[in-house]
């Protein structure tokens, strides 16, 4: 699958197999520049293009982690210990939390699906 990725505030917005060219126009600004580490040239237009082998949410997140790892960035939404989402992150598919979708992290993504990977902040004291 093809993925168009737009880093946001504390999140990555990902469009799967977009039907048309994805632009960042109109979106709010970026403040986590490290999310562009593997693709420094993409920062100018604000959209990262990535080819992913596989069709599932798991494949997408695994590929992302591999690409970040190669760039020296420790961004691993799937915890290798649990083989499930790491608790630093949450994922929505078209606005629905992945845990509420029948196949969860193994959900097959469809053309135009909007995946949001959120970095969770900590509020307890």
């Amino acid at each position: 699958m093809k993925a168009a990725i737009m880093p946001g505030f504390s999140e990555l917005i990902i469009i799967v197999n977009p039907a048309e060219k994805v632009t960042r126009e109109g979106l709010l600004t970026i403040n986590m520049p490290w999310l562009y580490a593997p693709w420094p040239d993409a920062r100018e237009k604000g959209v990262i293009e990535l080819e992913v082998e596989g069709e599932t949410l798991r494949a997408l997140l695994t590929t992302l982690a591999q690409v970040y790892r190669q760039a020296g960035v420790d961004f691993e939404p799937i915890n290798p210990g649990t083989n499930d989402m790491d608790e630093d992150y949450d994922v929505l598919i078209n606005g629905k939390n992945y845990v509420t979708i029948p196949h969860g992290i193994n959900t097959k993504l469809k053309d135009g699906d909007k995946v949001k990977v959120k970095i969770l902040w900590r509020w307890d004291g």
Partner: protein, 257 residues
């Protein structure tokens, strides 16, 4: 000038290059507000008092409960039912009687936040709610008081040092995340001590290491990650609000921060 007892008490930190008597004097003359004396606030208050911060204001509206004792180390079994700020004041004063401890038994609100942080050189986050943090963040930005954010859950934690006018503020991130996930007592102790270190650096005039950076601690894998973070020029609290991405004009008022 430090007196003889102070030279003895702080001997180990006076030996540190770039700290010395001048740094100690700055700590002695400083005023730090610790907002919330739970797991985070107990640890940061203890180490800042031990280090010799001259005036510490502690703010909390809660009373000590049995379920606090796994992490809130200023409180003991005999303190259950007592106001946290009263107990904390007593214990901190026993640790270092030269430190002035001001207890404020109140919840931080938009109405009282400016009086709570009045005169503070640094505000240290020990809260456990997003809304109160955003209120505190906005007041610190407005009053130009550095604010050291810390947050924890389970075995994970985060820290960033917010310097108004320079670094991103908490509101820049439109932050989301669950609370009430549980916490191992060691996690807030660790995060609070990082906050205390940042606070001391701010007071003695050193560049805080986490200004413009977000530290994430993962105690499950024993990983520390530090990421650069930038101001959101669309932030309604610290910037002009409602800016949208235009790609090339990244530093301009309509561009990316």
């Amino acid at each position: 000038m430090l007196d003889r007892d102070e030279l003895v008490r702080y001997n180990r930190q006076l030996r540190i290059p770039d700290f010395g008597e001048e740094g100690q004097q700055k700590l002695k003359n400083s005023h730090v507000v610790i907002a919330g004396v739970g797991g985070l606030g107990c640890a940061s208050a203890t180490y800042l008092a031990a280090a010799g911060v001259g005036h510490i204001t502690i703010v909390d509206f809660d009373v000590v409960e049995l379920s606090n004792l796994n992490r809130q180390v200023l409180y003991w079994e005999e303190d259950i039912g007592a106001k946290k700020v009263v107990v904390a004041q007593k214990k901190l004063s026993k640790l270092n009687s030269t430190v002035e401890i001001t207890p404020i038994c109140a919840e931080i609100t938009e109405e009282n936040v400016y009086s709570v942080i009045d005169g503070a050189q640094v505000v240290v986050d020990g809260l456990d709610r997003l809304n109160a943090r955003l209120v505190l963040n906005a007041a610190c930005v407005k009053q130009k008081v550095p604010y050291v954010y810390g947050g924890v859950s389970r075995l994970r934690g985060m820290v960033t040092t917010i310097i108004p006018g320079e670094t991103p503020c908490l509101a820049c991130f439109n932050p989301e995340g669950p609370r009430g996930l549980g916490v191992l007592g060691i996690t807030p102790a660790l995060i609070a001590n990082l906050q205390a270190l940042e606070t001391i650096k701010l007071i003695i005039g050193q560049r805080p290491s986490l200004a413009g950076k977000l530290l994430l601690f993962n105690g499950n894998d024993m990983k520390f990650r530090v990421y650069d973070i930038e101001k959101n020029v669309g932030c309604k609290v610290c910037s002009q609000g409602a800016a949208r991405y235009t790609g090339k004009d990244r530093k301009g008022p309509q561009g990316e921060g």
